[in-house]
Amino acid sequence: MQIFGVIFAIFVAIIVFAVAVWLIQWGVACLVWCYQVALMPFFVYFFPAILLTTVVIGIYLGSYISASNYFISVKKHVNPEGDLKKVLKFYIISILMLILSFIYIAFTIISCLLIYDLLFMFVNHILEYYDTIIFPAFEIHFPFWEK
């Protein structure tokens, strides 16, 4: 009776061990899945995208503040006497504004075109990437179990 008891206990222990190993495999598979689905794309794809977006926003914000400061300064300091007063001020402000508008428009168009192409490639790449993700990423084998 005792022998049966020992055998049963060993059996149970093996089963428990096998289940534990099986569960660990699933756990690792989940971790791999999390890495593949979230972590890896975040560091490789999303982080640079966020960084790029942040830089673009930074450029717009910094340049806007700088430009508005510059125009305030021009209005304050460019004050010729006589008839030229308005002409020169208008000339400087309008030409500066014109060039700035041109730069902004060019920058926006280039960024949009670039972002559109990149976004298109990026989305395709991401979709292709996500298509390649299989769960579980590896074959989970229940110990001592022959298929």
């Binding site: 503040i65 700088s66 430009a67 300064s73 021009v74 300091h77 010729p80 400087i92 500066l96 700035l100």
Partner: protein, 475 residues
């Protein structure tokens, strides 16, 4: 250019200052903006609320953006501003150069300059007093103080170019050197000194030539003669009155010399010509040192060298008997004509950069005066010239004949060296004969009747000015 009592043009001073201030202030404002965002960041970070923590990240990001991208943008804007302002300034400088060149060319082509009739200082323009505050503007030309107009420190605007009617300030013109009021306007001066020893008849020549121009020549060629100022007119009228009463002008004593000026105006051309006739005391020609103050030798247009035939020793000998009788009335010059001529040449060489072997390219009229006396007129006058032309058919004109007669007389009187000196020193010279009085002065109080006195002046005027030449050609 010396400092002027005027506000510097925006494009030559304040424009650059404004640019610098704009750039500097903009940079400071950028720093202030960044600091403002950074202060907000620290304020938000200190708050317990998590939302504020997120906001502090946003403001820190803004501060960083202003520092990094704002600075780049500031640099771009500064460069653009410099380029834009530079392009505007370039247009202004180009316009300034054009205006200045037009002004200079106008002055050069028209031969306009200012010669003070009193101190004989020459300058491109006179100094002008501001009509409002009477401060002196020494160079009222397009400059860094204004291209078309300049603003005096008192706020009054003054024209700086001929086409902006700078001439409207003529009442406020003064000599740059002596600060005397100068009414010569912006005309073309024609400066002619009358040279000769004492008693050769320079003043008589001056008055009779002026009278002849005013009364006879000017109506023929449609000139309008105006005296420079009332002083010249009074002097002329006084001498003319003496002339009409057969009175010889008093001896010129003053060693300091003022020019005798009158304008020649015509509707056919502009600007007006301003004639400067310099009648120095004969004693001034005793030494070249006396001519130091005669600064007009540096810019004169021609010479009238008056010769008293009775200052030539050979002729004195020939007319000894007659001179004993009429000498007091003729007043022969005691000065040798070579002495006056040499004093003039030494003055030119010493003070006006004419080299010893250099020819003077100004016309010189050599005028034998007092031809009314005895038989001088028969020897070198009109009649003699006519007879010479009849005798010698190669002589084409009266002036050529007079030239030959005078030269012959000079050679005959042993003045060959003097003649050669004239020939070697002057590129253009011409002999003339005249009588500034018309007869030997006596006590009859008959008006003087000078003859051929305008010829030397006409010859010089025709040589130095195209407009006058054309007018005189058609007379």
């Amino acid at each position: 250019m010396e400092t002027q009592p005027a506000i510097k043009s925006y494009f030559f001073g304040k424009g650059y200052q404004d640019l610098f201030n704009t750039i500097k202030d903009s940079w400071n404002m950028n720093l202030a903006s960044a600091k403002k965002y950074w202060n907000k960041t620290t304020d938000f970070w200190d708050e317990d609320n998590h939302l504020y923590k997120i906001l502090s990240v946003a403001t820190a990001f803004s501060a960083l953006s202003v520092i990094v991208f704002g600075s780049i943008w500031f640099a771009v804007l500064s460069i653009l501003h410099i380029l834009i302002l530079g392009s505007f300034f370039l247009v202004i400088y180009f316009a300034f150069s054009i205006v200045l060149i037009i002004e200079k060319i106008y002055m050069l082509i028209r031969g306009i300059f200012t010669a003070c009739p009193e101190c004989h200082h020459k300058s491109p323009l006179p100094a002008y007093l501001c009509p409002k505050c009477k401060i002196i503007h020494t160079r009222l030309i397009p400059s860094s103080y204004g291209i078309l107009k300049r603003t005096c420190h008192c706020g009054n605007k003054l024209p700086t170019t001929f086409f902006q009617r700078r001439l409207q300030l003529k009442e406020y013109a003064i000599c740059l050197n002596c600060n005397r009021s100068i009414t010569t306007q912006e005309t073309k001066p024609i400066c002619i000194p009358i040279i000769g020893g004492a008693s050769v008849g320079k003043t008589c020549f001056l008055i009779s030539a002026t009278r002849s121009i005013i009364n006879k020549l000017a109506p023929k060629v449609s000139w309008n003669i105006e005296f420079l100022d009332s002083n010249n007119e009074i002097r002329y009228k006084k001498e003319l009155n003496n002339f009409n009463n057969g009175m010889v002008p008093p001896k010129t004593i003053a060693m300091t010399l003022s020019a005798f000026n009158f304008f020649i105006k015509s509707e056919k051309w502009s600007p007006d010509k301003l004639i400067y006739l310099y009648d120095a005391a004969g004693e001034a020609f005793e030494s070249s040192e006396n001519l130091l103050d005669h600064r007009f030798y540096g810019y004169l247009h021609g010479f009238i060298f008056i010769i008293d035939p009775f200052s030539i020793p050979e002729l004195i000998d020939q007319y000894q008997d007659q001179l004993n009788l009429f000498g007091a009335n003729i007043k022969p010059s005691s000065m040798m004509l070579e002495d006056a001529f040499n004093a003039m040449l030494i003055n030119l060489e010493k003070n006006h950069g004419i080299k010893r072997d250099q020819q003077v390219d100004k016309p010189c009229a050599i005028v034998i005066n007092k031809t009314d006396a005895f038989d001088i007129e028969e020897r070198v006058g009109k009649k003699a010239a006519r007879q010479l032309m009849i005798r010698d058919s190669t002589i084409k004109s009266m002036s050529q004949a007079t030239q030959m007669l005078c030269k012959e007389l000079f050679v005959e009187c042993g003045l060959g060296n003097f003649l050669r000196e004239i020939q070697s020193k002057f590129k253009k010279y011409q002999f003339f004969t005249c009588s500034a009085l018309g007869y030997i002065p006596d006590n009859s109080k008959k008006p003087f009747k000078p003859y051929r006195v305008t010829d030397p002046l006409i010859w010089i005027l025709a040589n130095v000015d195209k407009n006058l030449r054309n007018d005189l050609k058609n007379k």
